[in-house]
Symmetry: D2
Subunit: 353 residues, 4 copies
């Protein structure tokens, strides 16, 4: 209700600020008797964690998860799964300079106005640190639906685009480079671009494409909880996201119906898939694919004007260890949120059996 939960049947509720003792969450609705693969969970955490390569923030956080409940002798019991991720690298002193300052294009100002108080250390609750909890829950959601394949990858950094359709890509190459682009040549250019941007003390935006395969027919709830509407909300809830499109997306808005319609094969599959695997908000068995736009990170290592709490414009020297481009570390977050959406609808759909 107050925005800390995602999902209805498969449900994640999170808490935690970037510089408190710990962040964590509660996962509800995970089917009982599931033998959890803890290594797989930690592997997803490692894909998101800071300090993993030289094109992301150099903060060091192990981001190891401690499970406190809901698992007995390695299996889920159907009761809520409580988990913790300690904040080991808090360095709160770094942030005293922004105590009374609202940084441009950060949430400092809006949190202060909404609540009348804020934990100003490192963005507090508005920090992307909370996405670590999403990755934990998403990793479990993936295990709930072992046949479903969820693959996200970096499809653009600034003006560098991976133009190939996803069908021509080898998803096994996504994690072979730090930018998580499955095309090696484009990946190299992206990495070079991000390094150049970092050298300028600047940041750069990008997009992530995500493909969901082997999704059963029938997931999604019309009218308001269409599958793509929930996917859109899930993605837009990730820090720095500015746009979402699925299937033909914004290009589809330029097309004619005679071009856009996906004709059927005998087996109910379709010859084309401009629909993006969803009709009327319900999965049709074809691949679901969508694209997510991320703005450039607002923290830059340059002088910038900021506003202080007395209404004065002040000069602020950006510092700290931040991501020059959020996209590489956001890939596992996009996958996690997609997994949460699918798991929720997967459980919901059992109602109809």
């Amino acid at each position: 209700m107050a925005g800390n939960s995602f999902g209805t049947l498969f449900k994640l509720t999170t808490f935690g600020e970037s510089h408190g003792k710990a962040i964590g969450g509660i996962i509800e609705g995970c089917s009982a008797g599931l033998e959890l693969d803890f290594d797989a969970i930690q592997k997803e955490m490692n894909r998101r964690k800071p300090g993993q390569s030289d094109i992301v923030t150099q903060r060091k956080e192990p981001d190891s998860v401690e499970f406190l409940s809901g698992v007995f002798e390695g299996k889920t019991t159907g009761t809520p799964i409580g988990f913790l991720i300690n904040n080991t690298n808090q360095k709160s002193k770094d942030y005293s300079h922004i105590k009374d300052v609202y940084r441009p294009s950060h949430a400092d100002y809006t949190y202060q106005k909404k609540y009348g108080i804020r934990d100003y250390r490192g963005g507090g609750r508005s920090s992307a640190r909370e996405t670590a909890c999403r990755v934990v829950a998403g990793a479990i959601a993936k295990q709930l639906m072992p046949n479903v394949q969820i693959n996200a990858y970096t499809s653009s950094v600034g003006d560098l685009f991976l133009e190939k359709p996803y069908q021509d890509l080898d998803f096994s190459k996504i994690d072979t480079n730090p930018v998580r682009c499955p095309d090696e040549s484009i990946a190299e250019q992206m990495i070079a671009k991000i390094k150049a941007i970092r050298k300028e003390g600047d940041t750069i935006g990008g997009t992530i494409t995500c493909v969901l395969q082997n999704v059963p027919v029938g997931l999604g709830e019309p009218v308001f909880d269409k599958l793509h509407a929930e996917l859109g909300k899930a993605m837009l809830s990730i820090n720095a996201v500015k746009g979402f499109e699925y299937g033909s997306g914004f290009c589809g808005a330029r097309m004619k119906g005679s071009e856009h319609n996906d004709l059927f094969n005998n087996d109910g599959s379709t010859k084309t898939n401009l629909s993006g695997g969803i009709q009327g908000g319900i999965s049709n068995g074809m691949d679901i694919y969508f694209r997510v736009a991320f703005k450039p990170v607002a923290t830059i290592i340059q002088n910038q004007e900021a506003l202080d709490s007395s209404g004065t414009i002040v000069e602020m020297q950006g510092k700290g260890r931040h991501d020059p481009c959020v996209v590489p570390r956001a890939v596992p977050i996009v996958e996690a949120m997609a997994a949460l959406v699918l798991a929720d609808f997967y459980l919901m759909n059992k109602m109809y059996t």
Copy 2:
């Protein structure tokens, strides 16, 4: 839960199929003592209704709303507002030819697979007819927040784009032409385009831009229920929508942080507004603006292949009275959904007072 409700405090729940006796809904959470302007509600209905101009479907439906509860002597009482819209133009016989046929890029196939049964007449529950209920509720939501201004308009039809920024437009001209584009010259081209498309028996996509002004600071709930995430979900839940972007949107993904950051003025407003009026999921008092992509309507008046329930590909001759372009009639729907999102967060924000 099953997808028929939108909102939490200001909440709309709808029912109804396109060819049943009636559609309708229940609006909860509308503050008590509000003197409803019924003409304003009907005016919004008229903007959405079929047959309003020669570039939309020629079906005739008066779409008049009957209020059954929650209003006493012209004022809301705080109890739920039940309302009905009769289906006067059902012509169910029109649809017998699709009883056992799944039309391409319609929801026939997915509804049949999900539920094992479907009301095949005119799309049933998947028909855009249900959006009439959204317009009713949105019109009331607008009255709840009289200071907030919500203006949507057609910003593209096919490849015809209204390139001007919204600041250069006169919103009072939106309803002066049937395509609802506030630039008269572009509007004429759009109208001509839609007429040409209709003559081909084809359809065309487009986009709608929406601007929300005078929104109070502080609306939106972090982490998962960010204001733009709910706006995105709201828009993506409208029939035929394929994409959503707000503020800098997909363009923002190509920018650098030093270009994208919105610097403050002394009063907390910002010099630029690439953020689109939202920081950290919370409104910051600047204009909120976003863009929504609509695919071309799937029903075309041409021969097309379809699938029947026995697994045979059959030839289908499109007929009936459908919109060549959904965008003009979708303008009030976009506004209505935006109003529902704002009203819900507006009530929610009272919790913090």
Copy 3:
């Protein structure tokens, strides 16, 4: 959220005041493909409706239900079931005398204070008329679980108690008398008592006992949504209810553990059933039984003091056609609410399959 909905997966949302045009509701989550028995629904409505016998209010309302959606060719389609019950017997003039008067032990005063406005005609939203909608939804819920048997009956009127345990009663006799007590001799005494009370212009309280049989093992959600907690909430939400107990109830609070524990048989059933068919909030397959206390109806045909809106105590002469005892007509309402609770948990439990 604003209290007009009951249930999560099998969900009823209602609207309507006693003297508006109509009351009605939306039922969500009813499985698709269910062939509805409309006569069975109307039969339940008739058990609740006014004017059915000479010991209930003599108002006449046919209380016939009109279904508007969610049913196609006699079967449910999985989409929301919208329904209407017209208010045919409004006689609003009857109520002008209470426009500015708060009747004792009615909701007039609290509605006025909460909302600042109220539809004073016949109790408006606070009238028990809304329970007609519960009966519609409950009748459908019963059809969703045809094996489950739900039987409620009048177990006391004033100081007249049906002391026999439910196992010694013949539930088929419940509807053979207007007071709905399956023991004929006690029923006669109850009827005589109610007639005497009515002659005095007074009213009398009573209790209803309800027995749920063949409920599958496993329904109910720990920790907060225990099966008996939801049953309790369901019953307490019915007008005039003051108490709820299940299994051993308040008597259990006087017992020792060695007396109270239900020992097992080999098949998992228990030798005694003081637990009332529920352990840890989850059904155990034994009969679930509970008892509900109803206060005497507040409207009496006697002179009484009331408060007017100016803060003056005024003499009020009770009039109108009201129930001398609410219990006979509340029997189908208790059953309906029990059915709603079970249907919701029944669907929820599919999540675990």
Copy 4:
């Protein structure tokens, strides 16, 4: 949804088994800027904790709470409050004897049947240990509404009843004795009774009465979320509760309307209060009072038959350290749940301002 949350705006979600590493929860909706009194929270915890006197279980648990988020420099920030209570006294070996055994009148059997697996150590999730989390949240809810007074006390143990009306009691004496009965003479008898029961290796039930004072007029949401319906659900969700009544309760069912109606004073208060401070589900400003029935604890230190997983009846020797009577430790739990209900409606009611 899966039953681990209570409340909508002021919302507690919990996790944890009695013998896992920790239990804990997340509190959402607590207003920002509230200076938390941590001593007051721990004081409530101490009232609930095991080992506090010689008439409760002799297990030792410090039950100290660690707050992980949502509090900054001593004040709430409006973000979710995550908290942990470590399980320090797990002694899991104590429970190996019940691994394959379903104890009578425990939740062993129903959890096993529902989930196909259970954490059998000490009741796992079904243990009353989870109520510690309720006490944490309830203590914060109390601080949110400092003017509201919430007092619960033991009103019966077995057949020993405190007959005095609450108006004749001095609530400041509740905590002066270990059984939490404000009448010293009855308290002594209750204590003696519990000690005798414990000596027999048996347990005994009892009731708790709770009084809510200075509750603002207008709390509660008709139709389904009536204030007393939520209070009832809250109480029935506490382990071992079998019944709930408010105001005149089951006695009211024996009364006439002319006796039961509460006549008004000029100021809107009433001369009597059989209604129990609530009309139509909405608080009327008078004292709210209710009574809760607790069954005797199922664990007795006597030989008892139990069922094993192979379907064999086995002899089981009860052992361990359990409460001979749950009521004294349940007093703070009843208060906590009442506080959660009031806080939720208190926030909800702001919607109407």
